[in-house]
């Protein structure tokens, strides 16, 4: 079994492993942020702090042959699905050992063994693709399920509405998960959208829909499981709105000074890491001292990953000309 598949298996049910993965994702994002701030990494990045429970909950419910079409804010989803920290960090650093050979970057992670389709950096862009994957499963007559996970901002783009409609009339085995983290780029959702509960948009497509607390992994798992079960058994698509909160700015350039006072603190009181820690302790499988050790260990592991990736080889110029067409086209 590959390391990625082992990592996926590890978080399927164990609350301690799920908490540990959340700590890993948070540490990973901390390092990514620092590397961007210091100029070590180029381009841009979009952190997922605050959205870890949704990522891990999703990964723990899906099979590895259920493809996920996610967005440019997907470091957490990728790691939750099982992508190794080395593969993800090397990609973000543009190294040859990254999951896309260093040619994708922070916004373009992919691991097909784990069901992670190439993440899309176009808002709503991955939604029709998930529907298409689901169409393939329907035509092939298998029981695989496709997932599109996207932000609140995507609910205002045409792809969202067209895809919901198409998935509904074709009764496709697809689950739509709106990760409503309250902010679409630099704009609070209420400034761009006349409704607060985004899931009601699915009502006009006669699609089952509901909201859930995206900070609580048990709630997340139960909700997504019900939607996946429906899709797998031929019941068609479901729309889930997971209420989360984006602890960071939109991208590395954004300090998020537009937040109402107190909003961030109020959401941080329900930080998914706190809830996951409490839940892990309740399981009786880990003590406070072990948690403290684990956090130190995780931080060190990610630091070591960074060091490893910094020394990883750069992609060769040749790779720039590969993987464009099925066979190289010289012109």
């Amino acid at each position: 079994m590959s390391k990625g598949l082992e990592r996926r298996k590890a978080i399927l049910s164990d609350p301690v492993a799920q908490f540990e993965r959340a700590v890993e994702i948070r540490e990973f994002e901390t390092q990514v942020n620092a590397l961007f701030a210091s100029g070590t990494i180029r381009g841009t990045t979009h952190l997922c702090n605050g959205q870890e429970a949704l990522a891990i909950g999703l990964a723990s419910v899906l099979r590895t042959d259920d493809p996920v079409s996610a967005t440019y804010r997907s470091h957490g989803i990728a790691l939750a699905l099982g992508l190794t920290t080395e593969s993800a960090m090397a990609e973000i650093m543009g190294k040859a050992t990254g999951c896309c050979g260093g040619l994708g970057g922070s916004m373009h992670l992919c691991d097909l063994e784990l069901g992670l389709l190439p993440t899309s950096a176009i808002i709503g862009g991955g939604m029709p693709i998930a529907a298409g994957a689901a169409l393939a499963f329907q035509v092939q007559g298998n029981d695989r399920v496709a997932v599109a996970i996207f932000g609140d901002g995507a609910t205002n783009i045409g792809a969202f509405h067209e895809t919901l409609n198409l998935a509904a009339i074709w009764k496709l085995p697809v689950v739509f998960i709106c990760d409503n983290n309250v902010y679409a780029e630099y704009s609070r959702i209420n400034l761009t959208t006349p409704i607060e509960d985004l899931h009601i948009r699915a009502e006009s497509y006669a699609m089952p829909h509901f909201a859930l607390d995206g900070m609580d992994i048990d709630v997340v798992r139960e909700g997504i499981q019900s939607a996946v079960d429906r899709a797998r058994s031929g019941g068609g698509p479901t729309f889930i709105e997971a209420k989360t909160y984006r602890f960071a700015g939109h991208s590395r350039a954004d300090q998020a000074l537009y937040r109402p006072e107190g909003e961030l603190d109020s959401w941080k009181s329900r930080d998914p890491l706190l809830l996951l820690e409490e839940r892990a302790k309740k399981s009786g499988k880990i003590t406070d001292a072990q948690i403290a050790d684990m956090k130190v260990r995780k931080a060190k592991e990610i630091e070591a990953t960074v060091a490893l990736c910094q020394n990883a080889p750069e992609p060769s110029a040749k790779t720039m000309f590969e993987n464009i067409w099925s066979r190289k086209v010289s012109q």
């Binding site: 992919c110 693709i129 092939q140 045409g158 198409l166 993987n323 067409w325 086209v329 012109q331």
Partner: protein, 334 residues
């Protein structure tokens, strides 16, 4: 060999592929029950049923993206964009998602899909339903771009497109749909290979789509011995055949159904000029449409499109003066 209309050649090519390959599916607006507004999908629903032949809502973005997604999971979708202009609302899914899937999956994903679209002027469809728009897609690495000109090339190129592991944009000149031609269903045509449709030694015309027929007509009426090349594929275009022809004739005329700016012919002229600079008998020229929208009025639309008379006028000028002639709209002071 059976004679069939271009639209029947298209439907036959799809049906033959669907019979051979169970992963081929077809969808688009009004293509199933209504068999397509241009009857290019006639008989498919009846033979292959509603799982593989589907009508979609008027949602080009969703169904183009669905084709991308389905292609990544092992199907070979053939989708129809009724008029090329309708791809505008779906361009993201083809250019930014579909064409990038192989690259952004580090070579793990293939996207074997065909986007068929009817293109071009001549039928009075007006400014929003008459463009060819190859240049929307020709500058996207990862896509292949084809355009047939008759029943045989429609059949053979479409089969090649469906069999291809990459996303293919298949531009069907709408004005040819009703034209008849003999089709040898065993004849294979390769993507990236042009067809020399008339041999000649004095001058090479490179044309595409319905302009191939204009070029043939011009060649037949000319006192010169003109070679006519039907380019068939814009990306990747057949440099070898074009260069071999111009090496022989020493003269190149590209006939394009496109506004003058940004057309595919510029690529051909640039490559030929670079290869044979100083050796050509006359400057390579492009005969195109003017830089205006397609006019509705029948007389004006006929003037807008390159025709055999204009092609031969410009060729005669070129031969007489050795200089690039002006297009009609400059000659007439527009």
């Amino acid at each position: 060999m059976p004679a069939m209309r271009v639209r029947q050649a298209i439907a036959t090519a799809i049906a033959d592929e669907m019979r051979t390959d169970p992963t081929v599916i077809v969808f688009g607006e009004d293509i199933a029950a209504a068999e397509g507004p241009f009857k290019t999908t006639e008989g498919l629903l009846e033979e292959f049923g509603p799982i593989r032949v589907r009508d979609t809502p008027i949602s080009e973005m969703a169904f183009t993206g669905a084709a991308v997604g389905a292609a990544t999971m092992g199907l070979k979708p053939v989708i129809e964009i009724m008029f090329m202009e309708f791809l505008g609302v779906a361009l993201d899914q083809l250019v930014t998602e579909g064409a990038k899937m192989r690259y952004l999956s580090n070579g793990k994903l293939s996207v074997p899909m065909v986007v068929r679209a009817s293109v071009g002027g001549g039928l009075g469809f007006g400014g929003q339903h008459s463009q060819t728009l190859e240049n929307w897609v020709a500058a996207t690495p990862g896509l292949k771009v084809l355009s047939p000109s008759d029943a045989q090339s429609a059949y053979s190129l479409l089969r090649a497109a469906i069999q291809d592991p990459d996303p293919v944009m298949f531009l069907e000149p709408r004005v040819t749909y009703a034209e008849r031609g003999e089709v040898d269903t065993n004849l294979k045509m390769e993507i990236g290979k042009a067809r020399v449709v008339k041999q000649g030694k004095d001058l090479t015309i490179v044309a595409l789509g319905q302009m191939t027929n204009i070029a043939r007509e011009a060649a037949a009426a000319s006192s010169l011995d003109i070679e006519v090349i039907d380019l068939c594929t814009i990306v990747p275009w057949d440099k070898k055949t074009v260069l071999a022809s111009v090496k022989k004739t020493g003269r190149l005329v590209v006939v394009e159904e496109q506004p003058q700016s940004g057309g595919w012919g510029s690529e051909i002229v640039a490559a030929v000029s670079a290869e044979f600079f100083g050796e050509l008998k006359s400057p390579p020229i492009r005969i195109t449409c003017p830089n205006v929208p397609v006019p509705y009025n029948g007389g004006l639309e006929a003037r807008f499109l390159p025709n055999a008379t204009e092609v031969n006028y410009q060729i005669d000028q070129l031969m007489a003066t050795g200089k690039a002639p002006q297009p009609w709209w400059i000659r007439e002071g527009f």
